[in-house]
């Protein structure tokens, strides 16, 4: 019976939101602030400042991916670029954000 269930169990496909949130894990892996609300406030402030410092195009990519949870393929299509390019740019944006958070002492 267990074997049957194992075979026929529906695979859990992670939603795009879950995937995108996972991607942000590297940015907030080790938050140094104990209070959750404070952490949210401070991270949000750094994030907004960070986004405002980006080019319009990079800002668009970030918002699409982590606010709207758009698939990478969809973002690539809208900008008429390859998926790889989107992945590469998202990766750089996350690294830059982490750098900004590190600079503010929010993450260790």
């Amino acid at each position: 019976m267990d074997k049957y269930r194992k075979i026929h169990a529906q695979k859990r496909v992670p939603s795009e939101l879950t995937v995108s949130l996972d991607e942000l894990e590297e940015c907030v892996a080790s938050v140094a602030i104990e209070d959750e609300n404070e952490a949210v406030t401070r991270i949000s402030k750094v994030l907004n400042t960070f986004l405002l410092g980006l080019s319009r195009r990079d800002r668009f990519i970030f918002v699409c991916r982590y606010y709207y949870a758009d698939p990478v393929k969809s973002i690539a299509k809208m900008l008429d670029i390859s998926d790889k390019t989107v992945y590469r740019e998202l990766s750089k944006l996350r690294a830059d954000l982490r750098e900004a958070l590190l600079k503010e002492g929010i993450v260790i």
Binding site: E25, I43, S44, L51, F60, V63, C64, Y68, K77
Partner: protein
């Protein structure tokens, strides 16, 4: 939800509204552009599709015209012929030619030309030109192919088909009657269908018309292209007798000829064709008179005395014997008009000649007699 995920969600939710609005506007704009591009691509696709469809249509029409010209494998009817069963390869059209004397067709004269010449003054009866060479009557013939058989004779109609694809011929319709392939005569091929037919008993032309030929293409029965040949043929059975003419009586004077001519045409073959008697003086046609079927009385006058003439009865008919509609001379005779005077009992001596002069005709008066010297060509 995990604690860290909640943190991330809260952070993302706190992104400045202006930034979200800017990204949203950009997203809408880009989506519209993508949709427009997709629409344009679809339009282009339709245009390409339309062009391709037009091209295919043109090619199809071109092929539809070209294929028949290049010769497709659709069977094409080529025409019909007739042959006698006994003579497999010979055509029956020659029938009848060998049995007929074309020179003087049924010219059965009651009065012999020699008897007409009695009482002549010795003129030569031979004329320079034959009357038949001087007369030509109008004949309208058709182009139909005709074949000739005898009453009740069994003959074979051959239906010729160009059949490069070697399709099986399923049936054909002749004179409204359908003949299936099992009814074809043995020896039929994919290209020549044979049908045994019995000729009618009565004389005249019988028409045979083919309406449709069907062939089998796989599981379908299709029509043979009938455009390649004449759909009808005429098969003729000769009439037993042909028109004839006889002179039942005649009278000859010095300047005229009276003839009683009887024209016989028991099967009305002459119809509307010309029927006339012509008179020739050996050099030209001097007179002609129309005749009718039956008894005719004809007078040629204003002739020269003691002169030989030739008269001939001409018409045109088709006896359905293989000669088609043709010119026919039913009767030809020579005749010499009477002279006015004759000489008899001539007694020549060394220095004198005596003879008797007598009158032979109703006209003429002797006003003088001259002696002709043949050597000097002078008259005394």
């Amino acid at each position: 939800m995990r604690k860290k995920d909640k943190l991330k969600l809260d952070v993302v939710s706190n992104i400045d509204e202006k930034i979200i609005d800017e990204a949203t506007d950009m997203k809408i704009s880009l989506s519209q552009r993508i949709n427009a591009a997709a629409k344009k691509a679809r339009k282009r696709l339709f245009a390409i599709g339309g062009t391709a469809a037009s091209f295919i249509l043109i090619v199809s029409v071109f092929l539809a015209i070209l294929i028949p010209l290049m010769g497709s494998d659709i069977p094409v009817y080529q025409g019909m012929t007739v042959r006698k069963e006994a003579t497999a390869s010979s055509n029956v059209k020659e029938y009848g030619y060998s049995n007929i004397d074309f020179t003087f067709l049924s010219a059965s004269n009651d009065i012999k030309p020699d008897s007409i010449k009695d009482g002549h003054d010795g003129h030569d009866d031979k004329l320079e030109k034959d009357i038949q060479d001087m007369v030509s009557i109008d004949i309208v013939t058709d182009d139909e192919v005709k074949y000739y058989v005898t009453p009740n004779e069994t003959f074979i109609i051959e239906i010729h088909i160009s059949n490069p694809g070697n399709y099986e011929i399923q049936s054909f319709t002749l004179n409204g009657k359908k003949y299936a392939n099992y009814m074809f005569k043995e020896g039929s091929t994919m290209e020549v269908l044979l049908l045994e037919v019995t000729a009618p008993e009565t004389a005249g032309y019988a028409s045979y018309t083919i309406d449709a030929i069907k062939y089998i293409d796989g599981t379908e029965i299709k029509d043979v292209d009938m455009s390649g040949g004449n759909k009808s043929i005429q098969v003729g059975i000769a009439y037993p007798t042909e028109p004839s003419a006889t002179v039942t009586s005649q009278s000859i004077s010095t300047t005229s000829i009276d003839l009683s001519i009887c024209v016989s045409d028991p099967y009305s073959l002459i119809g509307d064709n010309e029927l006339s008697v012509y008179l020739s003086d050996g050099e030209k046609i001097v007179d002609s008179k129309p005749l009718t079927v039956g008894d005719n009385r004809v007078t040629f006058d204003g002739l020269i005395m003691s002169k030989t003439y030739e008269y001939s009865v001409v018409t045109a008919f088709d006896r359905v014997d293989g000669q088609d509609l043709h010119e026919a001379w039913l009767l030809t005779n020579t005749i010499t008009t009477a002279g006015a005077f004759g000489i008899s009992n001539a007694v020549p001596t060394q220095d004198a000649i005596s003879f008797e002069v007598y009158k032979t005709g109703e006209i003429g008066t002797i006003t003088s007699i001259s002696l002709y010297d043949a050597e000097t060509n002078r008259s005394e």
